[in-house]
């Protein structure tokens, strides 16, 4: 019988090792908020960061002059108590509140000027927000005036983007930061923070954990938690498991299918519309057969309702133009519907038959949409009108390389807003000469895609505000639909999943998840 002792011992050892655990630590009564997500942080430097995690980190640690209200449309004061705009939207003057940074020093106009100059001059990812900024000038300690080179009614919206969070200039400069292109303080921001927000950076371990500590010297209302831990859990199923066991309080990347599989009554799941969308993009410069008529025909070949069922199990909505539903100018736009017969007729009228194309796209899953599944649906829909689409899923790095070299005429990708405002979409997706997608689609033959009317309309929109601007953005949206370069496929719903003792969880178009509003019941 002795030989059985070893086996028994091994079994006992495993049971003992697991029994050491007991029940996992309960989330109840903890003053630490734990959030599960894929971190994918590119930087924690406000002037260089550009990612979904960055959005809510910067919002919690740095504060912007204005921010977006919970209605996701109105701008409300943040560090600025009031602001004035001149008649032609070229000068913006903000009066600052009596706020302080985490080290107790006051937030002054010189900090704001330094922050905006740095954002513009370091030429990093979010620097595009400052395109057209002529000067940021401290009028006095509490007054800051911005001048832009051309009318820009969306400037106010831009300064609600978390990347414009105000940095404590003195603290940052002491660490070697500058507001010029020579700045190399990015590494300092990975382990330190210099903001005025309700939290400070406690520690950061890439791909593992981001810890925030309550800013004890916060000038505003104290946040609901002493500590926030964002822990890296990659896939939706694992995030749901961690939520059910109480290991985490909020799971940020649960897709609707996974949400449906959650059985615990202690978990709240809300499915809400998002401002994210996936799209197909045509590149006529690679294959000139893709004329406007052909692109419009192909857009009509797509079964949009089926696409939503196929990719996100019905948890999404159609989107008309490459501007998210709910953004200025989208209210009266009508999303496309499939019309196979019309598409066939248009292709025949254009003299196109036996069309074969290649679609290169990232082999990715964004906002719950698997790009392979999405493109298989596009392939199937195109085949219904006699167009053969060869699919070429690529790693992100290879897709980027091939996109630049123009190896295929069809691609697919996704987009999420940086702030509330339709101008950012026009500045990216419109067929205005020199703009990103016009350059990508037209390459060295801009005449294939450029739409001069859009440049006029965009200038008009930036010189207007309110309903007048909305009307111009609606026209722009229709023009961009008619261009048929960018074909939005699905705007997937977002799942807010959290334990039932947590409240104040909401989705913000600028800031993703405002941490300071979250409390435990």
């Amino acid at each position: 019988m002795k030989h059985f002792k070893l086996k028994t011992g091994l079994a006992a050892a495993f049971v003992a090792s697991t029994a050491l655990v007991g029940q996992p630590a309960s989330a109840q009564d903890s003053d630490t908020l734990v959030i599960a997500r894929t971190l994918a942080v590119n930087s924690l430097d406000p002037s260089r960061a550009f990612c979904d995690t960055c959005q809510f980190y910067l919002t919690a640690v740095y504060e912007t002059l204005v921010t977006l209200a919970p209605d996701n449309q109105s701008l409300v004061p943040n560090l600025a108590e009031s602001w004035e705009v001149n008649d032609d939207f070229t000068e913006f003057t903000f009066k600052l509140k009596d706020a302080t940074f985490a080290d107790g020093s006051p937030v002054e106009a010189s900090d704001v000027a330094w922050t905006f100059n740095r954002l513009k001059n370091v030429q990093a990812s979010p620097s595009f927000l400052m395109e057209g900024l002529v000067s940021a000038e401290a009028v006095d300690a509490k007054t800051i005036k911005f001048t832009v080179e051309a009318p820009n009614s969306e400037f106010l919206n831009k300064v609600s983007a978390p990347y414009t969070g105000i940095i404590n200039a003195e603290a940052a400069m002491a660490a070697g930061a500058t507001d010029t292109a020579e700045d190399n303080a990015e590494s300092w921001f990975l382990s330190n923070s210099a903001g005025s927000g309700p939290f400070t950076l406690e520690s950061f371990s890439p791909d593992a954990e981001l810890r925030l500590a309550k800013n004890d010297a916060y000038w505003g209302e104290a946040p609901g938690f002493n500590e926030v831990v964002v822990t890296e859990i990659k896939d939706a199923v694992s995030q749901a498991q961690a939520l059910e066991t109480g290991q985490v309080d909020i799971a940020m990347q649960i897709d609707p299918d996974t949400a449906n599989s959650i059985r615990s009554p202690e978990i709240v799941t809300e499915v809400i519309p998002s401002y994210n969308f996936t799209y197909v993009g045509f590149i006529p410069a690679v294959d000139e057969v893709l004329t406007k008529e052909v692109r419009q025909a192909l857009a009509l070949a797509i079964d949009y309702e089926g696409m939503i069922d196929f990719t996100v199990g019905g948890n999404g909505v159609k989107q008309a133009a490459p501007i998210p539903n709910g953004f200025p100018g989208t209210a009266d736009l009508t999303p496309r519907s499939q019309d196979v017969e019309k598409a066939k007729q248009m292709l025949a009228d254009a003299g196109v038959s036996d069309l074969k194309m290649v679609a290169g796209y990232p082999n990715d899953n964004a906002y719950g949409v698997d790009f392979n599944i999405m493109m298989q649906k596009v392939q199937q829909d195109f085949s219904n009108v006699g167009v053969e689409l060869e699919l070429k899923p690529l790693t992100w790095a290879v897709w980027r390389d091939e996109l630049g070299s123009g190896e295929w005429p069809v691609t697919a990708i996704y987009y999420a807003p940086d702030y509330y405002g339709s101008g950012q979409y026009v500045a990216y997706f419109s067929m205005i000469e020199g703009y990103p997608w016009a350059g990508r689609a037209g390459r060295d033959k801009p005449e294939l895609v450029v739409n001069p009317k859009e440049a006029e309309l965009y200038a008009k929109a930036l010189a207007a505000s309110g309903e007048e601007a909305d009307a111009v953005y609606a026209e722009l949206g229709q023009e961009m639909m008619d261009d048929a370069i960018i074909i939005p496929l699905v705007s997937p719903n977002l799942v807010l999943a959290y334990r039932d003792d947590i409240e104040g969880v909401r989705y913000s178009a600028c800031c993703n998840l405002p941490l300071s509003e979250i409390t435990r019941k």
């Binding site: 990812s125 290991q247 790095a397």
Partner: protein
């Protein structure tokens, strides 16, 4: 023996230089845009930003200059700065390697003990139900994909039965022990924090078991076949003829001979798992070197790719050296020169 070890150790830096050169040149030749990790898609059409980033990271320089700079920095112990994490690669590796080593060592201990025990049982009770059960367990370990067994065990033991904790090295609400070695088990003990040590062990148990199970499969089959062969040889027959019980024949005579091929497998498996435990790391949110390697490769993060390659090469070179030394120790007939 000492001279042999010294010779092998001295050769390692030269081999690493070769590995680093090949790794650098291959990654540079790989198709893909290295700016993918540095410039978001939104900004890639902005020539000013692209030029500024290229200049900042030295990607605007010709390949020979970059190569010479890379080797020069490497000789000074500088592996460069990761495109993805924006931190020194050496720091990234120093943070992640202990996590992987802790996991792999635990998995190797579990896998080796279970493999040896099952191999012994299987050989001793060859053809019986014990043999069948042990072989099926071993077969499952080596054939079930880790991503499947890991997820299922995590779901059953953590979500349903709540007898093991969730993913990660520690619960997110718990602060890690003060960093001395990077091994949470050791650091918790050094800090005199026994409850924390138990928490670390509890988090380590399941991923180490899942990874160790795969190792168990290999070892069980190897030990069983070596023992079965050994038990039919002359020395085993002689021992039996002298009246030694079967248990003694198995453990004192057959097992030592079975250890020699086992050492090779153990050394190779250990080195492989240093960078090959990526699926276990992904499922258990284990911040190790494997997941770092995958991200580096996917985003063409040249400095990180170079760093991980060097770590992998060091692991294999040292594992080979230790295996050779262990060979000589286990079998006096083998001499090292």
């Amino acid at each position: 023996m000492l001279a042999y070890i010294l010779r092998r150790l001295i050769s390692i830096p030269f081999l690493l230089l070769g590995v680093a050169s090949v790794s650098f040149l291959l990654s540079q030749m790989t198709k893909g845009d290295p700016l993918a990790a540095l410039v978001p898609e939104r900004m890639m059409s902005n020539p000013e930003i692209v030029a500024a980033v290229k200049a900042e990271w030295g990607l605007d320089q010709p390949l020979p200059i970059r190569y010479v700079r890379y080797l020069g920095n490497l000789l000074q112990g500088d592996m460069g700065t990761s495109f993805s994490t924006r931190r020194p690669v050496a720091l990234d590796i120093a943070e992640r390697l202990p996590a992987t080593l802790e996991l792999v060592i635990a998995a190797m201990i579990i896998g080796t003990f279970m493999g040896l025990a099952l191999g012994l049982l299987s050989a001793r009770f060859r053809g019986t139900i014990v043999d069948s059960v042990a072989r099926i367990f071993a077969l499952l370990g080596s054939s079930l994909p880790v991503f499947w067994s890991g997820l299922i065990l995590l779901y059953v033991l953590s979500v349903q039965l709540r007898i093991v904790p969730g993913t990660g090295r520690l619960p997110p609400r718990v602060q890690p022990p003060p960093d001395v070695t990077g091994f949470y088990t050791i650091d918790a003990l050094l800090a005199g924090n026994f409850p924390l040590f138990l928490q670390v062990l509890s988090h380590l148990a399941l991923p180490a078991f899942v990874l160790g199970w795969a190792v168990t499969g290999i070892i069980t089959r190897l030990v069983r076949s070596s023992l079965v062969e050994g038990l039919s040889l002359d020395y085993a027959r002689t021992a039996r003829a002298k009246g030694a019980p079967e248990r003694i024949v198995l453990i004192r005579h057959a097992l030592p001979n079975a250890m020699i091929p086992l050492l090779t497998i153990l050394g190779f498996t250990f080195a492989y798992l240093i960078t090959g435990a990526v699926l276990t790391e992904a499922i258990f949110s284990w911040p190790g070197i494997g997941s770092y390697a995958v991200r580096a490769a996917a985003s063409l993060d040249y400095p990180a790719i170079g760093g991980v390659t060097i770590v992998g090469a060091v692991a294999f070179l040292l594992a080979n050296l230790v295996t050779d030394i262990a060979y000589a120790w286990a079998n006096p007939r083998i001499k090292v020169h």
